[in-house]
Each structure stands twice: as structure tokens, then as C-alpha cells.
């Protein structure tokens, strides 16, 4: 019988055992972190046993901060409690501001609904607080850092990385902003995962579901619909749609507006002073949630507020609430219809509708969904937790620790079309929405004038035909085209989308080989320098922290690459000639030497050299595995 092994205190027997990966649902109203713990995939609670963290950050005046700078803030429940007394410094629903300029917010009407002051910031809108102007990225980073801390406390270990969920309908700017916030919070992002896809993953693996499923995800501030086909461990997203500016918050506002109208106040909630607006919206939310919980639909609930010097009181029934919000329900169903049409699927073919997000608790919405599909929606998973749980499952797969067997695969799509501006202010679509990821799509363009030596490219995202109706992601130029007559040049522009759905664009003149390449990092995103500056402001020890982190990450990556190379050599060494094998072994040796030094940059370089040296080997192994898969198929099908 084998003896039990005991390791030295503080040292795990297997470094892989300590590689903690989590799933984070960064929500408009609440955020959660989930991980595999004690053999279960679960949401991690705080010290008081609460799994939800309100996505609220309150900034305190400098005087309250004492000597230490940058720590004057409250995050979560404490901040939420302060919201009605200190609305101007208490930032909620910051997700609606990610990757958006103040002008964007004014145009979409979001601006008037926020109970705090929004100003123009660097690249995107900023929030004017007593502690200075804060970027939505910084505010989100505070929330992410709180969850990271919670996870590290739960495991008493550093995190290896996180899968962070985003609304499927988030565009490139919103995704980049989320990734920036994670970086600022010191999190390695394993993947940005679409929220409805995460929910489908958690639901599908939990219930062993097969067939067509629609995920209806109405969160605090965003609405997503995704249609998936689940078959034998493959989660295939067929189509996705929604509205990145529609959520539970809008139901609160609709109720508030209806009450103002009922009392003859000729104004909208958005026109009230900050403090009155915050109070009324908070009360509207409370009544909305309480109405959803009532068994007796005829019962009414009181709501009181003092507005413009008048003490007002209302009695609200579910019928009142439903009448005030019916148009919003109709708006969600319009998005459902479009998704079904994109996938060429009839409502009756959908086997189950999974409800996600706290706002789907509203009875009238459930009835509307049930009426549309002719079947009651599925509600057997907690709608607040299901997204974080799905993200944690993928985090485990991507960190090499699958919890539910590793034999599943997620095939997601890009939610929004991507294209280029052409003559006349029109958008030429290059990547249609619902294209499976990862993807590379190319289109050829030519010059407009004789002797033209440069080409200006304008990258856009959206479904409309005209440039001003789409979101501008980036502009770049291809220079050095040899002078030719108009129309003679052939310029191939290629859009690459990685598994996160993030875009990079390259352009190449086919005859001369002139190349231009750009990673689309939208102008309202943050530069690496800005992130570094924010890190320093926030924490004096950040730089040291970052250096230690960089070394640890380099070591983890080095070990991973070395282990993968050794196991590949053992499994498929015969694909290499003796001298090729010797070259790889020399690179392994050199990397092992580099691992002895505490120099992150040198170690990364040695790992990269090993990776490059292995590329041909990796290609041969993949060619063989594809050929084997095809041969297996042919045997099965004959």
C-alpha cells in the first residue's frame, strides 16, 4: 500500500494544485466570484456569508482618508447603504459607462438616469467625485479587486487568473474597457466570456441538456439573448442579440416616471435633483422587487417620497407596475424575434428558455416570455449565480483543471458586424454578426485616384449601413503604396477576431507587399501608460507588486511551456528528425538555465524562443491529429 504523502508547510505537493482560477460576473447591480472549492463549483461568500457584492463604490473626501492616500473608498454593501445620503460620490451602475464618452451617454439617454455627475474624461466619460475624477475603468477595477481579495482569502493563495463575463452585446470598446479594469485590479484575464453563454454552460452541464436552448438574460443594465445548440458536449452559439442599454434599472425609472405623471408633476425622474432622483429610484426598485415576491397580485404596496418640497405618497399594485413597464417587455421580445430570425429557427423549435439576471424575476416579464414561446421558462438555477458559475467552469478548463470532465467545447460567435468605411460614407461589412470565433475574414479594396500612395482605413462596428450610425473603433493608414492608376492596386484588409472576440486589423498591398497592422484598441480605451499611472496613484507599492507578479507569471508560463514540450516529445517524438529534436532539447536546456535567474524578461525571452523553436513540431502534431480525426469520421460514416 502506498504511503500518504505530506508536503512541507506552505508548499503544495503539485504546483498545479495551487493554480486557482475563478469566474467573475461583473454585473451592473451586483458582482460575484465563483470557483471550484471542496469539489463543488460555487459562488464564494464574503466574511458575512453573502455571495452578492453590490457593484457600488463610494469615494470619501480626502480628510476622511487620513495619511494614506488612495484608500478613501467603500465598496459593496457599505457603499450601497450610503447611496441615498451621498449620491454624488456613490457610483453605481458603472457598467453602463464602460467604453462610452459623455456624448454617447447623453445620446442614449443613460446620462439623465444616473444619480451622480458625469464629465468628459480621458478617452471616455469620467465621474466627478469628492476624491477627484474617476474613470469607469477605475471604478470597475475597485469592484474586481474586492472580488479578487475575496477569492484569495477563501483559498489563502494567489489567483492564477479569471474568466470575466461581459454582456454578449458589448462592443469592442466595452470589452477592452473591461479587460483594462481587470488589468488594473491585478487580474490575469483567461477569457472574456459572454454572459448568456456562461449561463448556458452552467445550465447545460448541470442538467445534461441537449437541443436548442435560448438564454434570456436581463441584468441591471444590459439585455442579451443567445440561442445555442447543445449536443454531446459542444455548446454552439447560433445567434446572439440584445440591447446593451436596457436593463432592470429601466424598469425602476419607468415606474418612477409613471408615479410622477400620476401626481401631476410635469417632469421625468431624470430631471429631478440628484438626491431626490436617487431616493425615488431606490424606492422604485424596492417596490419592484417586493411586488415580484408577492403571492397576491391584487395587493398594493406604499411608496413615499418628498419631491420638490411636496410629500408624496402612492399605493402601487402589480397592475400599475405592469402598465408602466409593458413597453420594456415588448422591447425585449423584439430582440428575441431578431435572434430567432438570424438563426432561422422558429419559436416552437426552442426546447427550453433559460432565464438569467435578477430582473427576470418580474412576473409580467415571465408571462410575456412564456406567452411568446408557448411554454414556461426554466428557472431551476439561481438567476443571480448562474453566470458566475458558468465562468468558473470555463476558468477551470482554461487553467487545466476541468471540474466536469474536459470533454466539452464552447463555440461562440461575434455579436456585432464589423466593417470598413467606403466611398460615400457607407459601411462595407467584412465580418457579419454571428460569425463563429476565432475568425479571420478578408476583403480586397483598391485606390480611388491615380498615383494614390496611401489608404485611410476606418474600422466600424454595428448593423447599420451609414458610418455615423455605427461605432467607430479605429482609423489607420496604409502608406507606401507604389503609384499606380486608380483601381490597379489590390489591397487586402484582413479582420482577425480572437477567441475573446477582440479585433485586430491588418492591410497589405498585394503587389508590393506593403503591410500595415493595427490592434484595434479604440481611442476611448486606455493606453498601457495610463493604466500604469493609475496603478501608481492607487498604490505606492504597485510597481513592486507588478514586478513580483510579472516574475511569477513568467515562471508559471515557463513551467507550462517546458512541461508541454516534454510531454509532446514523449508522445510524438517520431515526427522529428534527430537534429530537430536536439535543437528543441537545447532550447529546453537554455530555458531551464533562465529559470534559475530571477529575471522575468530574460525568462520570457527564453520561453518565447522555445515556443518559436517548437512551432513546426506543433504544426506537424496538429496536422496529424486533424488527419486522424477525419479518418475516424470516414470510418464511422461508411
Amino acid at each position: 500500500m502506498a504511503l500518504l504523502q505530506i508536503s512541507e508547510p506552505g508548499q503544495a505537493p503539485d504546483p498545479h494544485q495551487r493554480r486557482i482560477a475563478v469566474g467573475i460576473d461583473l454585473g451592473t447591480t451586483h458582482s460575484l466570484v465563483a470557483a471550484l472549492r471542496h469539489g463543488h463549483n460555487e459562488c464564494l461568500p464574503d466574511a458575512q456569508g453573502r455571495v452578492l457584492l453590490p457593484s457600488v463604490v463610494r469615494y470619501l473626501p480626502a480628510a476622511a482618508q487620513g495619511a494614506s492616500s488612495g484608500s478613501g473608498r467603500q465598496i459593496g454593501w457599505e457603499a450601497l447603504q450610503a447611496q441615498t445620503q451621498d449620491p454624488a460620490n456613490t457610483i453605481s451602475s458603472v457598467k453602463r459607462l464602460m467604453g462610452r464618452t459623455r456624448a454617447d451617454l447623453a445620446a442614449s439617454g443613460v446620462l439623465g438616469r444616473l444619480p451622480y455627475t458625469v464629465v468628459d474624461g480621458v478617452g471616455m466619460a469620467a465621474l466627478r467625485t469628492v476624491a477627484g475624477d474617476k474613470s469607469p475603468v477605475e471604478v470597475s477595477a475597485e469592484i474586481l479587486a474586492a472580488l479578487r481579495q475575496r477569492a484569495e482569502d477563501s483559498f489563502d493563495a494567489d489567483l492564477y487568473g479569471a474568466v470575466i463575463t461581459v454582456p454578449a452585446y458589448f462592443d469592442d470598446a466595452q470589452r477592452q474597457a473591461t479587460k483594462d479594469a481587470a488589468q488594473l485590479a491585478g487580474l490575469k484575464v483567461l477569457r472574456l466570456l459572454n454572459e448568456p453563454t456562461a449561463a448556458a454552460l452552467a445550465y447545460g452541464l448541470d442538467q445534461a441538456a441537449e437541443g436548442l436552448y435560448l438564454v434570456f438574460d436581463l441584468g441591471g443594465g444590459t439585455f442579451d439573448v443567445s440561442l445555442l445548440r447543445l449536443s454531446r458536449g459542444v455548446f454552439e452559439v447560433l445567434a446572439t442579440g440584445g440591447d446593451s442599454a436596457l436593463g432592470g434599472d429601466d424598469y425602476d425609472r419607468a415606474l418612477a416616471d409613471a408615479l410622477l405623471a400620476r401626481s401631476g408633476l410635469a417632469c421625468h425622474a431624470s430631471e429631478l435633483p440628484l438626491a431626490e432622483r436617487a431616493t425615488l429610484l431606490a424606492e422604485a426598485r424596492r417596490v419592484k422587487e417586493a411586488l415580484s415576491g408577492l403571492d397576491d397580485a391584487a395587493q398594493t404596496l406604499p411608496l413615499a417620497a418628498t419631491l420638490q418640497g411636496r410629500a408624496l405618497q402612492w399605493q402601487i399594485s402589480r397592475a400599475d407596475f405592469d402598465a408602466a413597464t409593458a413597453a420594456l417587455n415588448a422591447q425585449t421580445l423584439a430582440a428575441v424575434r431578431r435572434v430567432l430570425r438570424d438563426a432561422r429557427v422558429a419559436a416552437a423549435e426552442v426546447q427550453g428558455v433559460v432565464l438569467v439576471g435578477g430582473a427576470t424575476r418580474m412576473p409580467a416579464l415571465r408571462q410575456a416570455v412564456a406567452g411568446f414561446f408557448g411554454r414556461p421558462p426554466l428557472t431551476n438555477l439561481n438567476p443571480d449565480e448562474v453566470v458566475a458559475l458558468g465562468a468558473a467552469l470555463q476558468a477551470q478548463q482554461l487553467s487545466g483543471h476541468p471540474a466536469t470532465g474536459d470533454d466539452w467545447l464552447l463555440l461562440d460567435v461575434t455579436p456585432l458586424s464589423l466593417g470598413l468605411e467606403t466611398m460615400g460614407g457607407l459601411v462595407e461589412r467584412i465580418v457579419p454578426r454571428n460569425t463563429p470565433l476565432p475568425a479571420a475574414l478578408a476583403q480586397d479594396f483598391t485606390t480611388y485616384q491615380d498615383g494614390q500612395t496611401a489608404l485611410a482605413l476606418h474600422v466600424l462596428q454595428g448593423e447599420r449601413d451609414l458610418v455615423p450610425d455605427c461605432r467607430s473603433l479605429a482609423r489607420f493608414e496604409l502608406r507606401g503604396i507604389p503609384p499606380m492608376v486608380a483601381g490597379a492596386a489590390r489591397i487586402r484588409v484582413t479582420f482577425h477576431l480572437d477567441a475573446d472576440g477582440l479585433l485586430s486589423v491588418s492591410a497589405r498591398e498585394q503587389g508590393s507587399g506593403v503591410e500595415a497592422h493595427i490592434e484595434v484598441k479604440p481611442s476611448y480605451g486606455l493606453s498601457d501608460e495610463q493604466i500604469a499611472a493609475m496603478l501608481q496613484e492607487g498604490n505606492a507599492s504597485a510597481e513592486q507588486d507588478m514586478r513580483a507578479r510579472a516574475l511569477r507569471e513568467a515562471q508559471v508560463e515557463a513551467e507550462r511551456m517546458a512541461a508541454a514540450t516534454r510531454s509532446a516529445l514523449a508522445a510524438d517524438g517520431e515526427l522529428l528528425r534527430p537534429e530537430e529534436r536536439a535543437a528543441i532539447e537545447a532550447l529546453l536546456q537554455a530555458q531551464a538555465q533562465a529559470r534559475l535567474q530571477e529575471d522575468a524578461a530574460a525568462l520570457d525571452a527564453a520561453t518565447e524562443a522555445l515556443a518559436e523553436g517548437c512551432e513546426e513540431f506543433a504544426a506537424r502534431r496538429m496536422n496529424r491529429s486533424i488527419a486522424t480525426a477525419l479518418a475516424g469520421q470516414n470510418i464511422n460514416s461508411f
Binding site: Q397, P436, D498, A499, M561, A611, L630, Q633
Partner: protein, 174 residues
């Protein structure tokens, strides 16, 4: 026997299908998933940078082939191109007058329609025309192996597809 295959293989070879038009959609989907099970970067997440890069290239290539084979028009156009016959999707001049006249009639009907009900017959007409032309495309490729005739059908079908998009945009606005 295992055939050697690499990233340069054509779509039909990559999916282990005979080059042609008729295709079993379910079989194509199954092969796509089977190939992605081998190639998708998530399946190589812990195998280091070299394997990740190769996986990404393959995964992109498989999705590219899948998107092309899945869509009857793209599949038809791809077959033609493999035979050295360009479809010239933007070239209107080669179309028969009869077809152009029909296009004009459709456009007028679309412009004059005042409601959803009036567009339904037009939709039905489009569906019938498309079904007929897809059958002709299949015959041109699978029976006659006639790339020129096939390219002509693909061009007509592209017009129909674009027109149908306009029809749907119009329906959305009612």
C-alpha cells in the same frame, strides 16, 4: 488510411467531403465540431505558446471553411473558383435582360408596398425563384460540371439575397 493534411488543404478535403454542391448539412456540422474539438485553442490552453498559435491558425481555417461550405451560395462560388471560374459577384453586366427586368419589377413592388400583407406575395415569389435557381445550380455543378453555368446561377442568387435583405429591412419598419 490516414491522408496527410495541412492548412493549405481546400475546404472539401479539410471536411472530408467530395467536391460538389449537394451536401448533408448535419454531416457538415458534425465534422466542423469534430475538427474544432481537435483544433480549438481552448483545447490546448495549457500546452504553451507554440501549440496555442498553431491551434488558433487551424481553428480560424476550420471556421473559414465551415462558413463557406455551410452557405449554398458561397459553396457554389467556391466550387466555381476551384474550377478556375470567377463568379465576379459585383459584375452586373453579364446578367440576361429577362432577369434584370424581373429585378426591376420586384423593386417597384417593394417601393409601392404599404404594409406587411402586400409584401407576403413578393416574399413567396422570391422563395420560389430561389428554390428553382438552387436546383439549377446543383444540376450545373453535380450533373453537368459546368462552371460557367454555375457561376451565372450564383450571380443571380446573390441578387436575390441582396434584394431579400432589403425586403426584411422594409418589413422591420412596418
Amino acid at each position: 488510411m490516414i491522408r496527410a493534411i495541412d492548412l493549405r488543404a481546400n475546404d472539401f478535403a479539410l471536411f472530408g467531403l467530395p467536391p460538389g454542391f449537394a451536401l448533408d448539412r448535419t454531416e457538415l456540422e458534425q465534422r466542423w465540431k469534430q475538427l474544432q474539438r481537435q483544433a480549438h485553442p481552448d483545447r490546448h490552453a495549457t500546452q504553451g505558446a507554440a501549440a496555442q498559435r498553431v491551434a488558433l491558425q487551424w481553428s480560424v481555417r476550420i471556421n473559414e471553411g465551415y462558413q463557406r461550405l455551410k452557405d449554398p451560395l458561397k459553396r457554389g462560388a467556391y466550387w466555381c473558383e476551384q474550377q478556375g471560374q470567377s463568379v465576379g459577384a459585383h459584375d452586373n453586366t453579364a446578367m440576361p435582360t429577362e432577369f434584370l427586368l424581373q429585378q426591376m419589377q420586384w423593386r417597384e413592388a417593394l417601393a409601392e408596398a404599404a404594409g406587411t400583407a402586400e409584401l407576403l406575395p413578393l416574399q413567396a415569389e422570391l422563395d420560389a425563384e430561389r428554390a428553382q435557381r438552387l436546383a439549377a445550380l446543383e444540376a450545373a455543378i453535380d450533373s453537368q460540371r459546368d462552371a460557367r453555368a454555375a457561376a451565372q446561377q450564383v450571380r443571380a442568387l446573390l441578387f436575390i439575397e441582396r434584394f431579400e435583405q432589403q425586403l426584411h429591412d422594409r418589413l422591420d419598419r412596418f
